[in-house]
Amino acid sequence: MLDIFVPADTTACALGADAVAAAVITEANIRKVEINLIRNGSRGLFWLEPLVEITTEQGRIGFGPVTVEHIPQLINHIFEPDITDNTALCLGLIDQIPSLKNQQRVNFARAGIIDPLSLKDYLAHGGYLGLQQALTMTAESMVDQVIASGLRGRGGAAFPTGIKWRTVLETPAEQKYIVCNADEGDSGTFADRLLMEADPFQLIEGMTIAALAVGASQGYIYLRAEYPKAHRVLQQAIDLAYSNSYLGKNIAASEHQFDLQIRLGAGAYICGEETALLESLEGKRGQVRAKPPLPAISGLFGKPTMINNVLTLATVASIFARGADWYKTFGCNRSVGTLAIQLAGNIAQGGLIELAFGANLRDILVDFGGGTATGKPIHAVQVGGPLGAYLAASEWDIKLDYETFNDANAMLGHGGIVVFDDSVDMLQQARFAMEFCALESCGKCTPCRIGSTRGIEVIDKIQQGEQPKQNLILLEELCDTMQYGSLCAMGGLTPMPVRSAIKHLKKR
């Protein structure tokens, strides 16, 4: 029986994958051919979605972007290759196309290949090897392994993960928690979503290992409500993990217990900030907490809590499966490992590009991205989400690693890159950064809550030509107040897109 893959990924479905899957079944019934339709996750090559794949002796062959109208011809091609071998949609062996072949996939090695909800597939592709290894180790040696790997938090702050783990391990408590931050609210980022939809067991495995390492028995995945598909896939994966003894009591035939639940957010961007997230998990308004105490010492319900991003936890599974030394072969400077680069916005070939840290931004935009979707020149790119800097063409020869970006007054964040063509109005983007901060501020500290609104007003005055010189100075001072006076990154980093956008305007 022939395997036909049609992704059930959010973006693939937004571009018609469900209808394509239905048409494949209809067409197969008409021709009375037996097929096995698998709804995989996405490979992350979104400009080719819906990307239909079939298994052949040579490997998986891809077709895309496919529409319902293509299906009869496509099925023809599959079953009678001699008759119509000329479909322009055929991409050949999918893992040989440059956009995929030139990546270094660690977190996303299985994405789009396996059936996300097949534990058998997951195991066949190296799944749960990390947990097996972890079960042979002591808690201390597990934490040492993470420290040795050099892994840093992928949520944006890039804090050394192993140090966080050690703090939780060394804080005595009857109850400790593992929390996964899956509140991926930055525009231009979708790596967490892609991973949860394409390879959910990897996250579950990573969280289980983390729980063993720090001595936690309960985990929560705080997932944003805007990701209903990821929610369904994750919940089903968790149910499967429970029924196969990978969660609950005696995980993988050991004496350990680990329980895992998903909790949904409710549209508040600030809940991606770790302390606001914990407040939200506790059933409160998502308001930022002052630190210290660190969540690792007093986090969820006042207990030691290990809170990590989706990709950080997923990476742990690979580190335990293949070793810290292997992981350290990727990356540069103190940015070890691979970065999930998400190329979005006005881009011809948008998608997920996983590469070792240190890739050149311009190469990503040109080689992988292929320029803008509109065909106009790229004018600016915003790296690192709504709180990241806008970079102009002169600044694209920059290495994608945490240190280089810090030195350039920019931020790598969660690895999202949003591309704008020359129709972008940079002052409008600066205003939007302030608007977004005003809209999403939790309201706890004054610079963020009020500064953002004052920021909008000042930018409006500049736009209307009202004492522009003086108002630019005022805006700069306001940015200083927000940067140095805010409690968390929301108010503290909003000046970054504002300042960088204004800088480009001044240059022009």
Binding site: T11, D186, S187, G286, V418, L439
Partner: protein, 199 residues
């Protein structure tokens, strides 16, 4: 954050205030829930009260069942969880997704974040507002359509993104928007309640 600042759970003038601000007539969808409904609802959500940090799961459940969180349930939830009404109200009003009133028959959410802006989301929102004769964050006077901005649906490579009754559409041009909404827009009065799961 649309529609979040105008409600006050305990004031009898709340409905009037809201109507003045939103320019909405009272329709069948605006009526309050019955005591029997309230009891059934509380029975359902009390099964969640044992969860640590149960308030958000409970509010999600209520909204899933009714399409919104009626102010009448706030005292009961407060009692159930041993919280003050102010605390429950504070949580309901903090999160943009929780509604204190039903949305229209159809819910349209347009992504207004940067990646979609780069692909023309601002122009699309303007088109939608002109076509529906309402501003973002509002409902058509006949309760037909609620239009909202949303900040990122994770479809950042295929914007502008529009979610219509929880179904996501990518690369939505103004033409495609018109096609997608053609069957939804009704000029006459709407009597039907919205399907709860749409809100």
């Amino acid at each position: 954050m649309p529609n979040k600042s105008n409600h006050d759970a305990n004031s009898s003038n709340a409905t009037e205030d809201r109507i003045t601000i939103k320019n909405l007539p009272v329709t069948s969808a605006e009526t309050t829930i019955s005591t029997a409904q309230l009891e059934t609802l509380l029975e359902t959500v009390s099964s969640l009260k044992h969860l640590p940090g149960a308030l958000l799961p409970i509010l999600h459940k209520i909204q899933h069942q009714l399409g919104y969180i009626p102010s009448e349930v706030i005292p009961d939830i407060a009692q159930l969880l041993n919280l003050s009404r102010a605390e429950v109200h504070g949580v309901v009003s903090f999160y943009p997704d929780f509604r204190t009133h039903p949305c229209g028959q159809h819910l349209l959410r347009i992504c207004a974040a940067e990646a979609c802006q780069a692909n023309g989301a601002r122009a699309l929102m303007q088109h939608a507002e002109e076509k529906l004769h309402i501003k973002s964050g509002h409902t058509t006077p006949n309760n037909n359509i609620t239009l909202e901005a949303v900040y990122c649906l994770g479809n950042c490579t295929a914007g502008p993104s529009v979610e219509i009754n929880q179904r996501l559409h990518g690369r939505v041009t103004t033409t495609l928007f018109d096609q997608l909404t053609a069957g939804l827009i009704t000029a006459g009065p709407i009597n039907a309640m919205p399907r709860p799961d749409q809100c």
